[in-house]
């Protein structure tokens, strides 16, 4: 079992359903750890609960992560302007009938999509066989599509966002990740090194 590291939005049962679903969308095998082991559920938990932290976990800091030299600064998340906060709260929490969030009409938030979708997958989702899990995921396309986009971000985005544990997503696919401030030498660029 992949242990849970992010405790921001989901309860344990919901987190377990999300982790299991991520493993169907990005299944383990052939040297790929799969969505659950990569911590995609933690990535999503961190995104849906982004405003539990200050500054919110929307934009990692810069300029370097420390993986290729320099000080590790990705972990210091950036601040949002009032308008940016309005946008991200609306996107994550939904407009919930509040006039200041409905300049373009009502917005269904990601939290709602997840919670309703998880409910539709059923309490017994984790105990189901893979084919049944796939069938249930296909029956909630709104959740499945959002979850897949987020799982892809979680699997191959910077580890500071909660997924891609220890860079295992990058390692599996042969991607070096962020490389500043080291960069690549001219010979590495040309391919003769």
């Amino acid at each position: 079992m992949t242990e849970r590291r992010s405790h921001r939005f989901f309860d344990d049962a919901a987190w377990a359903v999300v982790a299991a679903a991520c493993d169907r969308l990005i299944p383990p095998g052939d040297g790929h750890p799969g969505g659950r082991a990569l911590g995609c559920a933690d990535y999503i938990d961190g995104l849906l609960g982004a405003f539990g932290d200050d500054p919110p976990r929307i934009w990692a800091g810069g300029p370097f992560s420390g993986r290729a030299g320099g000080e590790a600064a990705f972990e210091r998340f950036s601040t949002l302007s009032p308008l940016e906060e309005l946008a991200w709260r609306t996107r994550i929490e939904g407009s919930r009938g509040r006039a200041e969030r409905e300049w373009a009409g009502p917005v269904r938030g990601w939290q709602e999509v997840y919670l309703e979708g998880i409910a539709a997958l059923g309490d017994d989702f984790c105990a189901c066989g893979p084919e049944e899990q796939d069938r249930r995921l296909d029956a909630v396309p709104e959740l499945r599509d959002l979850l897949y986009a987020h799982a892809c971000e979680g699997a191959y985005g910077a580890p500071e966002y909660g997924g891609n544990r220890d860079g295992a997503g990058w390692a599996a696919i042969g991607f070096p990740g962020d490389v500043q401030p080291r960069g690549w030498t001219d010979a590495e660029v040309r391919g003769d090194a």
């Binding site: 308008l83 300049w103 696919i173």
Partner: protein
């Protein structure tokens, strides 16, 4: 007490606004630049150091709108024509960042010049049915010194002898080209064997330390990303110099909402803007430079009811991008190096086959566009292009959509059509309650014929380079092609031009040859809205050269 806050207020801090602000302060004028986006680019105090917020972070830059505009706050809409109804799509349409530095921050800065013929398209081609070709009111020879100045200011690396089709130039590039990407060495060798003429892309990224900034270290997170080490010069250099002059100020999160018109209606006197707390402010000035980008500029003019109403917003051009994909057996590590290191002008110049294809289609020529030699994006983008399930894992491990993929992108010149335009969406509003900008766009037959002509030839280049399979799509799609489906119909290009064209005739243009608005001479446009035609090259170096020229003329008139 002067009766104004500054000589010139500049709306927008992208490459155009930054170049204009720099030229104005250099000429001794005082300037306030208003930018609606945030400042992640440089500190407000000397020495105006980088803020250290740019990073090799695919989530932040490609998935979470770090550079803005957030499409929820500032939606745009798209339709092909009125038959599509009010709009087909809402969200991002040709969107370029809204941040201090505008689109210059995250562009990977291929900065070629236009060619002489690009400035006289009507004379070259004659009339074309359904298009509205015109010659520019300024020619290459007149613009050449400004191109030279722009290249030195920004710091463009290139090889003056490498492109046989380039127009004349008065001197060398300020820097030699940076290293060739591996994929480009394969593709350019194949292209040469087939008789084409690839050359190192003139690029606004330092190949050697330049002007106090370091050489690019080829990190690979270039297009769509701010540069973490400040190896890209545009537009940080002009903005920093403008600030260092002591005559320029920069206000971020300053969203211009109104322009102030003098009582006699013959000049502008300043602008009003909303600050970060949405409080209104006024800045008075002797002149206003409008450099909001070729999408926002017509949107503002339409809201304000300014400029020749028959022309404002029309003749939108965005380049028809033909994307030619080649799948290789071995890994190409396209994540090492700037996003594109080579270009090829052959489709612009044309050959016997393209002339024959044009004749057959009853067109005077196929204008083509510059071909960029590059690779794919990052792994998140790759993953999103794959279906979920086992195919995802197989695709990611093999990486045929990233590490084994070469991409040729032809930036096909699109002919100006009056029906292609930016106007105000009748229903969708932005967060401030202003009507969203709406794009109505359908490619001319010329662009579709051009894409269909060149795509197979570019596929042949990739096969010659070793690709085992090839595939092409265009954006906007050729009707009936696999990507001609909902969600893919809006042109994806970020080269936006022509929406408030300049010209010699006030009846046929919005701005005069010095980019002053007809009838409102102290309102000067310094972005690619003024382009009468699009050429097949990225617009940025040309819009910067024009901005310097226009700003210098403005400075001497004040």
């Amino acid at each position: 007490m002067p009766d104004h806050d500054c000589d010139v207020v500049v709306i927008g801090s992208g490459p155009g606004g930054a170049a204009a602000a720099h030229a104005l302060t250099e000429a001794g004028r005082t300037v306030i630049v208003l930018e609606k986006g945030r400042n992640h680019l440089l500190a407000a105090e000397p020495p105006f150091a980088p803020l250290g917020r740019f990073s090799n972070d695919e989530i932040k830059f490609t998935r979470r709108y770090f550079l803005g505009p957030d499409p929820l706050l500032e939606p745009r809409t798209f339709r092909r024509d009125a038959a599509d109804g009010e709009h087909l799509e809402i969200g991002e349409v040709n969107t370029v960042p809204s941040t201090v530095g505008g689109g210059g921050v995250h562009a990977d800065g291929k900065l070629p010049r236009f060619r002489e013929t690009d400035f006289r398209l009507r004379s070259e081609l004659g009339a074309v049915d359904g298009a509205h070709l015109v010659d520019w009111p300024v020619g290459y020879d007149e613009l050449e010194p400004f191109y030279t100045e722009a290249e030195r200011l920004i710091g463009v690396a290139g090889d003056a002898a490498a492109n046989p089709y380039a127009s004349w130039r008065s001197g060398p590039f300020p820097m030699p080209p940076g290293p060739d990407m591996y994929v480009a060495t394969l593709v350019t060798a194949a292209a040469r064997r087939l008789g084409y003429h690839p050359y190192p892309a003139p690029t606004g990224a330092n190949s050697v330390p330049y002007d106090g900034r370091p050489a690019c270290n080829n990190c690979g997170f270039c297009a769509w990303y701010g540069c973490p080490i400040e190896a890209k010069g545009d537009p940080v250099v002009p903005l920093r110099r403008m600030l260092a002059s002591g005559r320029g100020a920069l206000r971020a999160q300053a969203h211009v909402t109104e322009v102030l018109i003098a009582p006699d209606g013959r000049s502008v006197r300043g602008v009003r803007y909303l600050d970060v707390d949405r409080q209104p402010h006024t800045v008075t000035a002797r002149a206003v430079v409008l450099a909001a980008g070729a999408f926002e500029t017509p949107r503002l003019l339409l809201r304000w009811g300014l400029g020749n109403p028959d022309i404002v917003g029309r003749f939108l051009m965005v380049h028809t991008q033909t994307l030619v994909l080649g799948f290789f057996r071995h890994r190409l590590h396209t994540h090492r190096g700037r996003s594109v290191t080579h270009l090829m002008d052959d489709p612009i110049v044309g050959d016997a086959a393209s002339a024959a294809a044009a004749a057959e289609a009853d067109l005077p020529a196929l204008r083509g566009g510059v071909v960029e030699v590059g690779g794919a994006g990052g792994p998140v983008m790759e993953a999103l292009a794959l279906p979920p399930g086992p195919a995802h894992v197989e695709g990611m491990m093999r990486s045929h959509l990233r590490d084994r993929l070469a991409v040729l992108t032809m930036q096909g010149e699109d002919l100006p059509q009056a029906t292609n335009r930016v106007d105000l969406d009748p229903r969708v509003r932005d967060v401030h309650g202003f009507p969203a900008g709406r794009v109505t766009y359908r490619p001319h037959r010329h662009e579709l014929v051009t894409a269909e002509h060149w795509a197979p030839r570019l596929e042949a280049v990739l096969r010659k380079a070793g690709a085992t399979g090839t595939f092409w799509v265009s954006s906007p799609p050729v009707p009936g092609h696999p990507n001609d489906r909902p969600g893919m119909r809006a042109p994806s290009s970020r080269h936006v031009m022509g929406t408030a064209r300049m010209g010699r005739d006030p009846d046929g243009s919005v701005f005069d040859p010095w980019q002053r608005m007809w009838g409102l001479e102290n309102l000067v446009c310094c972005d690619s809205s003024v382009f009468p035609t699009a050429s097949g090259y990225g617009p940025t170096l040309t819009l910067v050269a024009l901005a310097i020229r226009a700003a210098r003329a403005l400075a001497s008139s004040l």
